[in-house]
């Protein structure tokens, strides 16, 4: 079975802290994504990566960075957490193959509260 694992389900961090959200997929997918989900705003793409060490900004990259050193792992970094980054963060992955790229597989989400 396809699996995308987000290391932390619930986190509480202080304003100004550096925060790492980790995501691992076991499907050998080329593409990985970080979304943020807020009530009334749906899912917004923060960053995506289509290969190791490759990354592209999504719609709301400000205040975030990412790291993809290995194919299976995609990390989201909040350099200096702020209260407006309190949200649910969803990691996802997909294949880049013609038949497989259309379906995105999501992790269970990480609820981040910044106080």
């Amino acid at each position: 079975d396809v699996k995308v694992t987000q290391s932390s389900r619930y986190l509480v961090k202080r304003t100004g802290e550096k925060v790492f959200l980790e995501c691992v997929q076991d499907m050998d997918h080329e593409n990985m994504f970080w979304y943020r989900q807020d009530p009334g705003l749906g899912l917004r793409l923060i960053y995506f990566s289509y290969d190791v060490k490759m990354k592209e900004k999504g719609d709301i990259p400000e205040g975030y960075s990412v790291s993809r050193e290995k194919k299976e792992r995609f990390s989201l970094i909040l350099e200096s957490a702020s209260t407006n980054q309190t949200s649910m963060y969803l990691c996802a992955s997909s294949s880049s193959s013609t038949g497989g790229r259309d379906t995105i597989y999501f992790g269970e989400g990480s609820w981040l509260t910044v106080v």
Partner: protein, 114 residues
């Protein structure tokens, strides 16, 4: 930027009834997908319809796509309490290449009462 807009935002029905959700989008697409999200969980892929298809079925799900109107609908027949969830449409814009990048709508929250 958000492309898909679902309608209604919330829907409450009785078990056994059909539920219809609509999605509109703005740009040309390769495909349109529907995802389901149980409360507080990740999204799960339900069904995909390509831009050259007009209708697709999967179990109790029926999806239609009208590219001239840039709209899609998801019909869940004979709904069950377990169908209670949020449903999102997502579009794969033309030109997104092989990245699989999708644009999600804001979702419809469906409540099915037993």
């Amino acid at each position: 930027s958000q492309q898909g807009e679902e309608d209604p935002q919330a829907l409450s029905i009785q078990e056994g009834e059909n539920a219809t959700m609509n999605c509109s989008y703005k740009t040309s697409i390769n495909n349109l997908q529907w995802y389901r999200q149980n409360s507080g969980r990740g999204l799960v892929h339900l069904i995909l319809i390509r831009s050259n298809e007009r209708e697709k079925h999967s179990g109790r799900l029926r999806v239609t796509l009208d590219t001239s109107k840039k709209s899609s609908s998801l019909l869940i027949t004979a709904s069950r309490a377990a169908d209670t969830a949020s449903y999102f449409c997502a579009t794969g814009p033309k030109g997104s290449g092989n990245t699989g990048k999708l644009i999600f709508g804001q979702g419809t929250t469906l409540q099915v009462k037993p």
